[in-house]
């Protein structure tokens, strides 16, 4: 039985079994591979997408349970949102595998709270694991995108002028 899903403003009839997690429908059937598999049990946040603007873990969401929810994935952001620009400006990604999920969580945060304080950032972002530990740049990039003063961390990280080798 076909299930209909609305992803990034487009309606799809998908043929995956109805209990298939949205994550695998996005990745295997729709070819939207920006959303990542990290843990499969909603612990790491790599699979985060938006359902009607709210962040959800797509690895735990059966496609049949979506109803009429409008899904937005990293591909649906367009590539140049203030958050994505800040991510590039501050070179946030390292391995990058978790970053789609990080950006989707941050997107939901800024949509609901244009000037989040540290506690709000923690609440929105603590479900997204980054094993590379890009956490402080993630926080800085959210503040950058929100037009808030960033954390005072020296950059470039030189104790003295460029080394003369």
């Amino acid at each position: 039985m076909a299930t209909t899903v609305d992803v990034n403003g487009r309606s799809y009839n998908v043929s995956s079994p109805p209990d298939t997690p949205l994550l695998w429908v996005l990745r295997d059937e729709l070819g939207l591979t920006g959303t990542k598999y990290g843990c499969g049990i909603a612990q790491c946040g790599a699979c985060t997408v938006l359902a009607d603007g709210n962040p959800i873990r797509s690895c735990q969401m059966p496609v049949s349970a979506l109803g009429a929810a409008k899904i937005t994935t990293i591909e649906g952001l367009g590539g140049a949102t203030p958050l994505q620009q800040a991510w590039v400006k501050l070179d946030v990604p390292q391995c990058g595998y978790c970053q789609s999920g990080q950006i989707m969580s941050a997107t939901a945060l800024l949509a609901q709270n244009a000037k989040p304080d540290d506690a709000a950032i923690t609440e929105a972002m603590d479900g997204n694991i980054c094993r590379c530990g890009a956490y402080q740049r993630i926080r800085a990039a959210i503040k950058e995108a929100a037009g808030m003063p960033s954390v005072a961390v020296p950059s470039p990280a030189l104790a003295a002028p460029a080394p003369k080798a």
Binding site: D28, G38, Q43, Q94, C95, I129, A134, Y135, A165
Partner: protein
């Protein structure tokens, strides 16, 4: 990691002979060839007009081929900058492309010629190579322009990708491309005076992949979708060393999308038409395991074995399987006598790497050369291991290295475990049909290759000023190098990966009598290097012991270390410590509620000093500001150095606070992030990075930031509570 990697090379050589002998019996062509030559046999890769590292396009863009994998550590930015600097290229027009597997062209000379990324060696081993490549190409463009314009080559300049002459003539690389390609490359081009660097060492050296990674467009192994591709998952033995006795796949066969079941050396594999189907089918398998040769002990029992060896309750064998001395000098009998100022034991658990992208691989076997796509950390070793499965020359195994969601050491192992597993399955499927092997998080976390469990005992006596007079040290752990293929010399005698960091410590150098020994008994749990390898535990033991000694002596932590570094002639340690202490305001009071801890450690040729501000919150350590100083020689990409200090600190802190893999009756207790706790955003410190100015060639950056934070935090906790922290993780669950 350099010494062990030489062992890998030797082991690979042996396997090579076997592989070649089995498939090309009688071929004499290969006899006597160097390892890189043999490995490259059959490889389609040919260097272009500008060598193996640079490609130029008519539009003026420059592509730097990276022989190293980018799995987060930022080396692609630095590697490109090294070539671009000598080339005087327009940095905005420089691109990075992953080089294919070819040991002859892309061997890592710090790994004895294997093509591989590890030991924090990417920038260091490419420094001269890419400078030379860039300078040679620059000279070719200069000569081409001089000939074309009829001027002296010495009058032609290059800046920001523009080749120019004072007469006003100028051209981009693209316009001169055809002519430059005909110029004979200079063998020993003149390299720049580092004083004239305009790119290296500046904040302009940014990552080239942030845009792809901020838009979901970077292509990881997990993202590969090929026509007709099957997805594979494998049921592995729950115990290390377990084998398949029998299996029942009747339920798996009923899963929609199921295609086939295969028994392979590592378990039972199912292939299916989608990831979800493969998962359901794999989970529906019923496998009866033969545990007769499996490791059936729990981690607590194994630790007790280690403790009994260290205390002398169990007598170790003599010879190469027995206690191995390191960094020892003076009369050992003295180290057992006197009154100990500090006598402590430390325990460290197994640790999973737990990269965000679990292990996976795509393979096509049975139609033309075997072809693989994945995050290849040591591709030419993987070639050797895969060649043995498909019966071909290693060099004929084509490997495309993709964007990779972390490794921290996991993707470099002697057996090429998950890669070979994928090739076995693809061989069964046959016909060149693409197979994507997917390990679930649970497979990955229970799949072994952990940082070994480690037990240290330390006993130190001091002189009248409170400085170490005698130092007795015992380390019991598993040997990483024993995982090397049969015949490798790595598993016998002292395994330096078990002691590095204690071995060579300036503190031991400054101590008149040292009796230090290590023992590596056999355990069936598979172990591997884990970001910073031996330093993950030795840095902790050395730095936390020194802190206890400093307190006993009633001396300031920084002053105490300074005295020992001065005595040991450890000038780089001293400089890094001084920079960190200065930037942290060590001599001024810490912010209200916070307590500072300091630690210093050298690994992979770089010295890192950290001052961490710590407090206890609900009984748990909370880490705030961490001031980091690093001497990594010439810092090619300073902002990426900072990124690695930030990330390495988080990785080390995660392990120190929460990391532990435990086993019960041989079965791993943790399977996912719900049980294997890792550092989250709110727990991450704010790391400030300062780079010690240096004229030395570059040294490691990816790993040295990891091992220092644990002891820095423990040393702050010692100041807060008065108690040493003698086991990790700090937070018991």
């Amino acid at each position: 990691m350099n010494k062990p990697l030489n062992d890998i090379v030797r082991a690979a050589s042996r396997r090579e002979v076997l592989a070649v002998g089995a498939t090309l019996a009688g071929s004499s062509l290969l006899v006597g060839c160097s390892l890189p030559t043999i490995l490259s046999a059959g490889s389609p890769v040919k260097p272009g007009a500008f060598g193996a590292f640079l490609k130029f396009d008519p539009d003026g863009s420059v592509t730097v081929l990276s022989k190293h994998i980018e799995f987060g550590q930022g080396n692609h930015a630095g590697l490109a900058a090294i070539a671009a600097e000598e080339l005087d290229a327009d940095w905005d027009k420089v691109k990075v492309e992953q080089a294919p597997a070819n040991a002859k062209l892309y061997g890592n000379y710090l790994m004895g010629g294997l093509q591989g990324t590890g030991g924090s060696s990417a920038i260091a081993n490419s420094w001269k190579q890419l400078r030379t490549a860039g300078a040679a190409a620059r000279a070719m463009f200069v000569q081409a322009a001089a000939t074309k314009w009829g001027v002296a080559a010495g009058e032609v300049t290059v800046a920001n990708g523009v080749v120019a002459h004072k007469s006003g003539k100028q051209a981009g690389f693209g316009e001169l491309l055809a002519d430059a390609a005909k110029v004979k490359p200079p063998q020993a081009p003149t390299l720049k005076d580092p004083n004239s660097f305009t790119l290296i060492g500046t904040p302009r050296v940014k990552r080239k992949d942030s845009g792809l990674k901020a838009t979901g467009k970077a292509r990881y192994t997990q993202d590969v979708h090929l026509p007709d591709m099957l997805t594979a998952m494998v049921a592995h033995s729950p115990r290390f060393g377990g084998k398949v006795k029998s299996f029942d796949d009747s339920a798996a066969r009923k899963v929609p999308g199921y295609v086939a079941t295969y028994q392979i050396p590592t378990g039972v594999a199912v292939v299916a038409t989608s990831t979800y189907a493969a998962r359901q089918a794999r989970d529906a398998l019923k496998v009866d395991w033969d545990d007769s040769k499996a490791e059936k002990r729990g981690s607590a029992e194994i630790l007790q074995v280690f403790k009994d060896y260290a205390s002398g309750k169990t007598v170790a064998p003599s010879g190469k399987d027995g206690w191995q001395p390191f960094s020892s000098h003076g009369d050992a009998a003295k180290a057992a006598g006197g009154t100990a100022a500090v006598e402590v034991a430390y325990d460290f658990p197994y640790l999973a790497h737990a990269s965000m992208e679990p292990m996976n691989c795509v393979a096509m076997v049975g139609k033309g050369p075997a072809r693989l796509m994945y995050g290849a950390q040591v591709p030419t070793l993987d070639q050797v291991n895969c060649a043995g499965v498909v019966g071909a020359l290693p060099g004929s195994v084509e490997i495309e290295t993709l964007a990779t969601g972390g490794s921290f050491g996991r993707r470099a192992n002697f057996q090429s475990d998950y890669v070979v597993e994928c090739v076995h399955i693809a061989k069964k499927v046959g016909g060149g049909r693409p197979v994507k092997l997917v390990w679930t998080r649970e497979d990955d976390m229970r799949g072994g290759h952990y940082r070994p469990m480690v037990h240290h005992t330390v006993r130190v006596t001091v002189d009248k000023d409170g400085y170490p007079a005698t130092w007795r040290h015992r380390i019991v752990t598993q040997s990483i190098m024993k995982g090397a293929p049969p015949g490798s010399p790595g598993g016998k005698g002292l395994d330096t990966t078990a002691v590095e960091g204690a071995m060579g410590s300036p503190y031991l150098k400054a101590t008149p009598v040292v009796d230090a020994q290590a023992l590596t008994p056999d355990v069936g749990v598979t172990v591997l290097w884990w970001r910073s390898v031996g330093a993950t535990h030795t840095a902790y033991v050395m730095e936390h012991t020194i802190e206890q000694l400093a307190r006993k002596a009633g001396k300031d932590s920084v002053e105490y270390r300074r005295a020992l570094y001065t005595k040991a002639g450890a000038n780089r340690h001293l400089a890094a410590l001084n920079l960190a202490a200065d930037k942290a305001g060590w001599t001024t009071p810490a912010p209200t509620g916070w307590t500072r801890g300091v630690a210093v450690h050298e690994s992979f040729g770089s010295v890192v000093a950290q001052v961490a501000e710590v407090k206890l919150e609900n009984g748990q350590p909370k880490v705030g500001r961490v001031v980091t100083a690093i001497d990594c020689g010439t810092a090619v990409a300073p902002d990426q150095v900072a990124a690695q200090m930030e990330g390495g600190t988080c990785y080390g802190l995660s392990a120190a606070l929460f990391g532990a893999i435990t086993l019960t009756k041989g079965v791993v207790d943790q399977a996912n992030f719900d049980a294997y706790r890792v550092l989250r955003n709110s727990e991450a410190p704010t790391v400030e990075t300062y780079i010690v100015p240096s004229t030395n060639k570059p040294s490691g950056v990816g790993e040295p930031g990891t091992p220092v934070i644990g002891p820095a935090v423990a040393n702050a906790l010692l100041a807060i509570t008065g108690q040493p922290t003698l086991s990790q993780p700090f937070v018991k669950t």
